[in-house]
Symmetry: C2
Subunit: 248 residues, 2 copies
């Protein structure tokens, strides 16, 4: 008993365990038994800190691991051969990145930290080994990948058929909803990305993003002070996303 106490008081020991991680409701351990979660700790090879502005991995690098975000905020982006690039997503604590690398053993996008971040490194072959033994983990890995596919369907709908205001409204609602699931405010958020990065994600130019923010402010839907955004009228944003084109 005394031994256990001493071990637990060692901050190193506490920190590396999935069972003690405050993201366990959002991250890989979702839906597993306490016993199974303990086994997940073997899956996490180590932690890695990523400085703001630097890459966790880059297009072309060998794929070895998936990464669970512990803290911080990332963007992922792909580049075409002629140098254009496209932000494909923004990821926050509890989310998994690196799935793009599985198919060809090499990453096909960049993952860049938008603020200082820390990730759990999970070697993919260990994930595969363990998910052969723990059915719940196998299912969970499948769900994570399927969720990413479904999310991207939503982005395709946005990029293919929505207008600027609808895109930005959908973007803001999605961000606050995910932040809220992590215990943050439903109505207030700090953007970790530039207008240009938002624009890239939404298929708009940065000026259009800026103008659309200004429009929302005029309409009393949000307050914007640089990257600090307060949503005053969530309903109005929802209406923009869902009912914009009903008049046709």
């Amino acid at each position: 008993m005394a031994d256990v106490k001493i071990q637990n008081m060692n901050p190193q020991t506490i920190k590396v365990a999935c069972s003690n991680c405050n993201l366990r409701e959002l991250c890989m351990p979702l839906g597993l038994s306490a016993e199974e979660i303990d086994r997940l700790d073997d899956m996490v090879a180590n932690r890695r800190k990523i400085k703001r502005g630097t890459a966790l991995f880059r297009n072309g690098e060998k794929f070895n691991s998936l990464y669970a975000i512990r803290t911080g905020f990332f963007k992922t982006c792909v580049a075409s051969e002629d140098g254009r690039d496209q932000v494909t997503g923004f990821q926050m604590a509890g989310e998994i990145i690196g799935l793009d690398g599985i198919v060809n053993d090499h990453h096909t996008c960049d993952a860049v930290a938008l603020e200082d971040a820390e990730v759990c490194v999970m070697p993919f072959d260990r994930i595969e080994d363990l998910s052969r033994e723990i059915n719940g983990l196998q299912r969970h890995v499948h769900k994570i990948m399927s969720r990413e596919i479904v999310r991207e369907h939503g982005v395709m709908l946005l990029l293919g058929s929505m207008r600027a205001e609808e895109r930005l409204a959908a973007f803001l609602l999605n961000l606050v909803q995910r932040l809220h699931a992590r215990g943050f405010s439903q109505s207030e958020l700090i953007l970790r990305m530039t207008r240009e990065e938002i624009g890239s994600y939404l298929g708009l130019k940065l000026e259009t993003v800026s103008r659309t923010f200004s429009k929302f402010v005029e309409d009393g839907i949000v307050e914007v002070k640089q990257r600090h955004v307060r949503i005053l009228d969530t309903e109005a944003l929802s209406r923009l996303v869902n009912h914009q084109n009903e008049c046709h």
Copy 2:
């Protein structure tokens, strides 16, 4: 020896086996041993024929199985609450559809046959059972999902940053490349979808798709007679996709 011969001559016996399927280089059995492929036959519950214009599954339906396309051609599309819809992909023989359903146990898109089609129905729990035993299958399932994620990244790049001509060029090149991998011509193809469906996929209106085809014809890049397309200058299409914006 005589017995084997007789069995093989029974057309039923031949047809249901993955080991005899002429898509085995493209479909689930990819990279498995002969012995493992035999076991996959247990995975395929049955076949299902889908008439042109009807759905294999629809948004909201319970998810049970993945489907391997044996013959025919599908589109998948998502719908927003206000009725717009977006084609998220076109699928052909050897490709797997239904991955969207895993995450919530319900499908989130429609899969509609664009010509009479036949699919192998693979109950997902059997896939999970079997992929716990056959490492190569587990890896393959992961790769299929990762491939879909990467494909969608490409579509996001297309929708977010390309102009009409580039989008259509990329679309045509992608289609012929996949058809070529199935033994069809590198330069000739028959479109199974309408201009409107192409437009939905590419984030364009059908008139723009039509005009862009006409432009390609004027430029001597393709010949178009309704849905029959012959590519005269693949290089020109590639240049459109890759170098369009270099002048900037």
